[in-house]
């Protein structure tokens, strides 16, 4: 199983690069594929694990999310820049 472990590690990394929306979409795809029930066992296992990881990631992100605040400020010359604001 060492081969699939390497791939799983790859998946773990990939899921962090996904946006929340992308992660949710991928999770939906996985559920559809698994529900269709015609993928080989080995692939099902991988999908199951990827799905679990995605679901966990989505829930963690939601539960640990902290609102980020930025303020637009005008620079001399008419350009604008963003500066961080504290959430009160």
């Amino acid at each position: 199983m060492s081969k699939s472990k390497v791939q799983l590690a790859g998946n773990e990394k990939a899921k962090d690069d996904l946006s929340f929306e992308q992660a949710l979409k991928r999770l939906e795809e996985i559920v559809e594929t698994l529900e269709a029930g015609n993928s080989p066992l080995e692939e099902s296992v991988k999908l199951y694990e990827e799905g679990m990881a995605l679901a966990k990631s989505c829930m963690t992100r939601l539960n640990e999310a902290k609102l980020k605040l930025k303020k637009i400020q005008k620079k001399s010359g008419g350009d604008i820049e963003e500066i961080d604001l504290e959430v009160q």
Binding site: I30, S44, T60
Partner: protein, 429 residues
């Protein structure tokens, strides 16, 4: 004729209003005298009438028209600087009140009313301006449903064009923080009322489109009078919203009143709070749907396990004679146990609260098909993938046997194919 008097008048800088009949006046003096009398006696008048022969002079921007009623008419001039203060469009047939002063245009001897301000008769100036702009933009197609863009389901960056003072921005921040804090709020502070407010709002929308990668923009302010909300009824704001490639939600004060911005915006929210409610999903609903998806996964895995257990049943049946009874019992008990636990966990999911999900996931992971391997099962991989049937591999071929903690290399030395309930030994190595 008194020459002396005549000289006096000619030399006077400020001609007198009372003139003796014997005097001979130059035309210019006549007009100056009359003008002086008029201006002194009518410093400011308010006249009601109907506009006709309306002309806006290009490029000066001065307005010229005739104000008339059933019995008389008078020429009216309005200089550009005064005309700029009139918020609605003037046109022939419109009934108006003109406040101004009367005077004489000397080169032509015309008696004229110099308008300082104009109000419509029968309705407020702002209401009329609103109605006029609304009709104009509607005719141009700025309110067209076809042009409206859908809002993103999960925005990551939300632009907010509003004042840093006031309740609007605080409401937006607190609601988004509560509903779906997985976003970045980019606040673009602007004046929301008074001179230059409309221009600042429009510029903010243009700039957010130009440089920021926000997924959606909220433009608004808290409630106020029609005058307070006026910036959101200005054409420059309407056009900026229309031209925005980023979807715009209008969020202006009052529930009841619509602004022009509301008509142009892709989505209209009745208040800034309402905009915050609809720009992001509710995180509890999203968590719930993630849970549903998890249930989907576990259900299909449960189904898969069930199928596997049926196969296992078949196998144990066939080998019943060769296997000790206790092993058969153990295996069917394991399958039962697994199925029971899967069901229990699924139930748990449906009832459980999301805080508990993390621990549930680890339980479920333990039940994954991979975990089956941990309990003494193996799968066989040949050169063409996983071997699900003896037909897929020949005697003499190499195969990998995957166990939970590693892989065994092996060679097939014999093969027994089941034929109608009996095992047929095909070849012995």
């Amino acid at each position: 004729m008194s020459y002396e008097l005549f000289e006096n008048i000619r030399g006077a800088e400020e001609p007198q209003s009372s003139v003796s009949e014997e005097r001979i006046l130059k035309v210019k003096d006549l007009l100056r005298l009359s003008k002086s009398v008029l201006e002194r006696n009518f410093p400011e008048v308010i006249v009601e009438g109907e506009i006709s022969n309306f002309k806006k002079h290009v490029p000066s921007g001065h307005l010229y028209f005739t104000l008339k009623d059933d019995e008389a008419q008078v020429r009216v001039v309005m200089w550009r600087s005064d005309a700029a203060q009139v918020r609605f469009d003037l046109g022939d047939g419109m009934k108006i009140l003109v406040k101004g002063k009367i005077s004489i245009y000397e080169p032509r001897g015309d008696f004229q009313l110099y308008a300082l301000s104009i109000l419509p008769v029968g309705q407020g100036a702002l209401q009329l301006a609103f109605d006029q702009l609304k009709k104009k933009l509607e005719d141009e197609g700025l309110f067209s449903e076809d042009h409206k863009k859908p809002l993103p389901e999960f925005p990551e960056r939300i632009g907010v064009v509003t004042s840093l003072e006031g309740a609007a921005i605080r409401d937006i921040i607190s609601i988004i923080n509560r509903r779906f804090p997985l976003v970045e709020l980019v606040i673009y502070p602007v004046k929301v009322q008074g001179d230059g407010a409309a221009e600042e709002i429009a510029e903010a929308i243009v700039n957010l489109n130009r440089v920021s990668n926000t997924d959606v923009i909220i433009v608004g302010r808290g409630g106020g009078s029609l005058e307070d909300l006026w910036a959101f009824n200005e054409e420059v704001v309407a056009r900026a919203i229309y031209d925005s490639r980023i979807p715009v939600i209008s969020a202006v004060g009052h529930q009841v009143d619509f602004t022009i911005a509301d008509f142009v915006a892709d989505v209209r929210a009745a208040t800034p709070s309402a905009a915050a409610e609809l720009v992001v999903p509710d995180k509890f609903k999203v968590l719930y749907s993630v849970q549903s998806l998890l249930r989907g996964i576990t259900k299909s895995v449960e189904q898969r396990l069930h199928e596997l257990s049926l196969e296992l049943d078949k196998l144990t049946h066939h080998y019943a004679l060769r296997q000790p009874a206790s092993l058969v019992d153990q295996r069917s008990q394991f399958v039962d146990d697994l199925t029971r636990r899967m069901q229990a966990e699924t139930e748990h999911f449906i009832k459980g609260r999301y805080e508990k999900l993390a621990s549930v996931i680890s339980h479920l992971t333990a039940l994954s098909p991979q975990a089956v391997l941990k309990r003494g099962y193996a799968f066989v991989e040949g050169s063409r993938g996983v071997i699900g049937s003896v037909k897929k591999i020949e005697v003499g071929e190499n195969a990998k046997i995957h166990l939970h903690d590693g892989t065994l290399d092996s060679q097939i030395t014999g093969k027994y194919e089941q034929v109608e309930g009996s095992a047929r030994r095909e070849r012995e190595g």
